[in-house]
Symmetry: C2
Subunit: 309 residues, 2 copies
């Protein structure tokens, strides 16, 4: 842990592996890291396949490195059964930053994981935060519930769009209108970028946010050559200042901690119910429900009354 | 409930609404329905967008109706924030079966729902099962974890593929090789169907299933004109007979009941922790974690020790 905090990438990677492996050592490691956590800014980047998420992440990392910040990246793929640990692959993917020891990147698969994204991502974030990274970027493809979950984890959520992705904003899922703190239209040099902006502006105007809420700006980038990326970094700073001024940063981080505690507690309970013995009380109740002798609600009540005071 | 069991579609719909609304009446309704549940066959149908899921479901319903079976369909969209209840829209979608009172169909959104798919789908299945439908079809688009979840709910899981969907089996996500009880290549009249079959056969041969496990057949259909659909219905029967002969049906249904009990219990616990008061113990712990005074693991232990004996 000391080496990780001193910036040794291999040690950071090993700590993340404790998360991925659900190692019994994790509990102790987290207790040691706790006092150092809570300083990093957490940025979520989400968007449909093909909008240029990796390129945008890369460009943002370049910008943040130029400002002297240490950056950790977690690339979460909610549909992949393949887990991280492929450090070489991850370094190659990072292109410009492959040799920069102040950039840590890790691909994480959530599928098959106990609790998926909700369990492993916040804990990996916590490791990077405590290891002293100034910014932690969580990048995820926007499918299913993943982008909503990411928005729940990040201080600032960036929704990426791009022209030529079907019917513009119509193609974008309704959920994105609610979760973005910044909207970035990438590939702004391509035809149709201004149409995407116009449609998005219209859709955002229709979506109901409270009067005193943050008004998410729409930015244009060409991540490939870095155009517009400094403005994105500036908008992240603006949003961060707004969060702090409105007490929203503490609220978001407290909510995130609450979700994290709950996920760990529920996982613990589930292990307890499933048990290690051959035939547990839950098994017995399940058999009775399957035979139609009782219903799942009554069974759940019995289960809770056995384990709760 | 009596009218629902007598085949009144509106009453069945109202019971499903209790599930969607997380109504306090649900608990009592389930207790009354329990003795009648456990008879329906549960068929899961999953596949990428564009493979022809609705058309295939429709064709299968026609086939099953021809055999005199009552059929319930739950179309679950894990990415949609829009919930069901649009009975008219659902009937229109069913085309041929719009006027058939022995076919019930309902679109369900899982997003935003407490526990998502895992909570609402099994309970809606249970309602249809108890209402006397012989077959319940759960249709879902294969994104994220949804197809794995569907496979956990169904007696028989059908994975749909189609030619011209990108790189054939390469485009198919790795997970589908593990979950299918039947593989159906739809749009078999189109170019490339036999290539998809060849690739799938190769991939399945490589995927490791135990020696004594069910060997999933690959079938070809043109759902649009019903070709090959009778063979799919036959394969479902074969698989069902295999499940019964190997004690696997009881095992699957018990596991399903266990998941259902657990989901209800965890939801109950979560409500308890979140509480109705302004500031709960969980809030307090979350604030301490956010301030770095403790770590989420220690907080989870405190939470559990307060609520568990």
């Amino acid at each position: 842990m000391e080496r990780a905090r001193a910036g040794d990438l291999r040690s950071v990677g090993r700590l993340i592996s404790l998360v991925e492996d659900e190692s019994p050592l994790l509990r102790e490691a987290m207790a040691h890291l706790a006092p150092y956590a809570g300083r990093a800014r957490i940025i979520g980047i989400t968007g449909s396949p093909g909008v240029g998420k990796s390129t945008s992440t890369n460009a943002l990392v370049t910008e943040l490195r130029g400002r002297g910040q240490r950056v950790g990246v977690l690339a979460v793929d909610p549909s992949s059964p393949f887990s991280g640990g492929a450090l070489l692959g991850d370094r190659v993917r990072m292109g410009d930053h492959a040799l920069d020891k102040d950039v840590f990147i890790r691909s994480m698969a959530s599928r098959g994981h106990l609790g998926g994204l909700a369990w492993s991502t916040p804990q990996a974030m916590r490791v990077l935060d405590a290891a002293g990274y100034d910014v932690v970027i969580i990048e995820t493809v926007g499918v299913g519930q993943s982008e909503v979950e990411i928005a729940g984890l990040a201080d600032t959520t960036i929704v990426l769009l791009a022209p030529g992705m079907g019917d513009g904003i119509q193609a974008a899922k309704a959920g994105i209108l609610e979760i973005g703190d910044l909207y970035v239209i990438n590939k702004a040099d391509r035809e149709g970028a201004s149409t995407v902006r116009r449609d998005l502006r219209g859709a955002l105007a229709l979506s109901q946010r409270p009067e005193d809420a943050w008004k998410p700006p729409i930015l244009m980038t060409t991540a490939q050559n870095g155009e517009g990326v400094a403005e994105v970094a500036q908008a992240i700073d603006d949003h961060h200042a707004w969060l702090e001024a409105h007490g929203e940063l503490t609220r978001r981080r407290t909510r995130r901690a609450r979700d994290e505690i709950e996920a760990i507690a529920l996982t613990g309970l589930r292990k307890r119910w499933s048990g290690l013995s051959e035939h547990t009380e839950l098994d017995d109740l399940a058999e009775r429900v399957a035979r139609g002798e009782t219903d799942p609600w009554a069974a759940a009540e019995i289960l809770l009354s056995t384990h709760l005071d």
